[in-house]
Assembly symmetry: C2
Homo-oligomer: 327 residues x 2
DNA sequence: TCAAAAGTGTTATCCTTACACCCATGT
DNA sequence: ACATGGGTGTAAGGATAACACTTTTGA
């Protein structure tokens, strides 16, 4: 067994950040190269300089605030990606790029003008339209995604993947349909299934498109490199984590009404929540406390204002937002 | 904003694997440089060669089975570590090493003779003696760890960390004591607290030892580089994941009794479980099915044999082992 | 016959869900 | 006064926790 972890291969390390914010009940993600450009959007990314920064996170915070003007709040490492479609050819002479994906949350005090040119916040559901079930089950799923996936499955219906699941079963488990549920945390798996089926633009770019790709039509806006995969990982992680850590408050203003909190939770989860039970779950979890103030001008009865109770961090091991059932 | 993720800094990428197995109800980890050597143990690690292997995981499987003789079953990426104590000096002329940590599970068919020389399986609680509460609360906690940590806290009792928690609160939350619990998933946080307090050998090596380190005595066997941190991450992840994914069966033989399953679950969790409720939780979760055979020679009444039901993967979104309360 | 391990039944308690209803304001 | 959103009460159902008990073998 070798004990050296030195590699003799040309590898470059970059940090890529999915920087999320919420405005007007819409979850946003910071991208370079906005829609008016020809090119696909990209997540902000930068090099890791081990001499200048002791940790990845310190490096990340520095170049993000320098280059985008957005100060980061909460930061969390997601995953390190090394296999990127078209760059996987052995005869490729370009250096291989390893990208370490990060999730960051910011409070959206940053207005468009303060951002560096080329950077802008875009709704994250522009990249994953099938993930937003707040209004209703997106028609795209029944009309485009499922027909194309079913044809893909029919070509090889019983082939199991690494976990022993056939294509049919994976489709049912991830996108629902008859007796299947749509689990909000499976954002990454759904994107990867669409990529594997060759139905997203990134698959075409990587030479793995299905003949069905044009029939299905564009399934969300594509991103450069594997950035849409990193964003899918970020959304999955955030949807899961908010249930057992109070990360949602990194996206809320200092004080807020319970309704505002619910609408942000719904925006992130991509589904409606049962209002009465949501209130009770939040209050019984003791993650918020009333300020005593009231919010007027919300249309109906004034709502009590709340703030996050930092003390829960000491009181309970997993203080998140129990979300309960759909509304 | 730059769109290039090319770095101009010398960075090398290595893969480091925490390869776990269970034998005789003891969780084991594969290490190079066993105890009879002078040097601290190390996890197996190797270079990532992007030209030879399309993904990290493929590369990992290849060199692990080549170099250790152990075939990997389940494999999962843990975290990418870049900040390693003593190498953090800006004047350091050595290339910086980024290590991508992996958790792998193997069924322990591999006997010692088949392993490459220098490789061996060692009980993981040798590195984390405070994590094994199966017999009782480890005396080490009350006798060595808490006194040293309390002195450390007393030097700066109110300084908050990034999450706003003081040293006192972090000690209580992680190691219990009066009214605090000992949460089995916090393995990484406990190790990092001990490192931050300068009480583990790795802190001395990195020039961050506390004056209290000799008074506290050796707190578990040290490892080279940041490998003990990677192992702590692996144990944390495994303890958490087995509750919602059926990963424990990657460590079990094809057929097993419910008692054997419970003892492996207890070994991994480091705590006893309530037998009757464990049985009911397992059976009601429908993750196992009876084979119809019986196991004799277990000392008392023969036990029914069970096998893992792969079908649960299709039936439920999060089929893990509910563990219930302590025994 | 007894110890040891396997396995079953039953109740108390807690949490989630579901549903019904009342409250306070602006227009 | 009434629409709108804010807010409370409570009972049904399901799951876990706690405890008592029976069964089957080997020594």
């Amino acid at each position: 067994m070798t004990h050296s972890i030195v590699t003799h291969f040309p590898v470059e390390v970059g940090l890529t950040a999915a920087i999320a914010a919420v405005r007007a009940d819409e979850p946003l993600i910071l991208v370079a190269e906005a829609a008016h450009n020809e090119r696909a959007a990209a997540l902000p990314s930068g090099p890791f300089d081990p001499l200048a920064h002791r940790t990845f996170e310190i490096g990340l915070r520095e170049w993000v605030s320098e280059q985008t003007g957005a100060p980061l709040g909460y930061v969390e490492q997601l995953y390190t990606f090394g296999d990127r479609g078209r760059q996987a050819r052995a005869d490729d002479r370009e250096p291989h790029v390893v990208s370490i994906g990060y999730l960051a949350l910011t409070r959206m005090g940053v207005e468009a003008a303060e951002l560096a040119s080329g950077a802008s916040f875009r709704p994250w559901y522009a990249f994953f339209p099938w993930e937003d079930w707040r209004a209703e089950r997106p028609a795209l799923i029944e009309q485009k995604i499922l027909p194309a996936l079913r044809k893909w499955a029919a070509r090889d219906p019983d082939r199991p993947n690494a976990y022993g699941l056939s294509r049919r079963e994976r489709i049912r488990l991830l996108f629902g349909g008859e007796n299947g549920r749509f689990e909000d945390e499976n954002v990454l798996d759904r994107y990867q299934l669409l990529y594997e089926a060759g139905l997203v633009e990134e698959a075409r770019r990587d030479g793995r498109a299905s003949p069905l790709i044009d029939e299905a039509g564009p399934l969300g806006a594509p991103m450069r490199h594997d950035h849409r995969r990193i964003l899918a990982t970020a959304i999955s992680r955030l949807r899961a984590k908010m249930k057992y850590r109070p990360v949602i408050f990194e996206l809320m203003p200092e004080v807020f009404t319970l309704s505002a909190l619910q609408r942000v939770a719904e925006a992130l989860q991509g589904r409606r929540l049962h209002t009465q039970n949501f209130r009770r779950l939040v209050e019984s979890a003791a993650v918020v406390e009333a300020t005593g103030e009231m919010s007027h001008g919300t249309g109906g009865r004034p709502a009590a204002l709340f703030r996050f109770r930092r003390e829960v961090l000491q009181e309970r091991p997993a203080p998140g937002l129990r979300l309960g059932v759909r509304g």
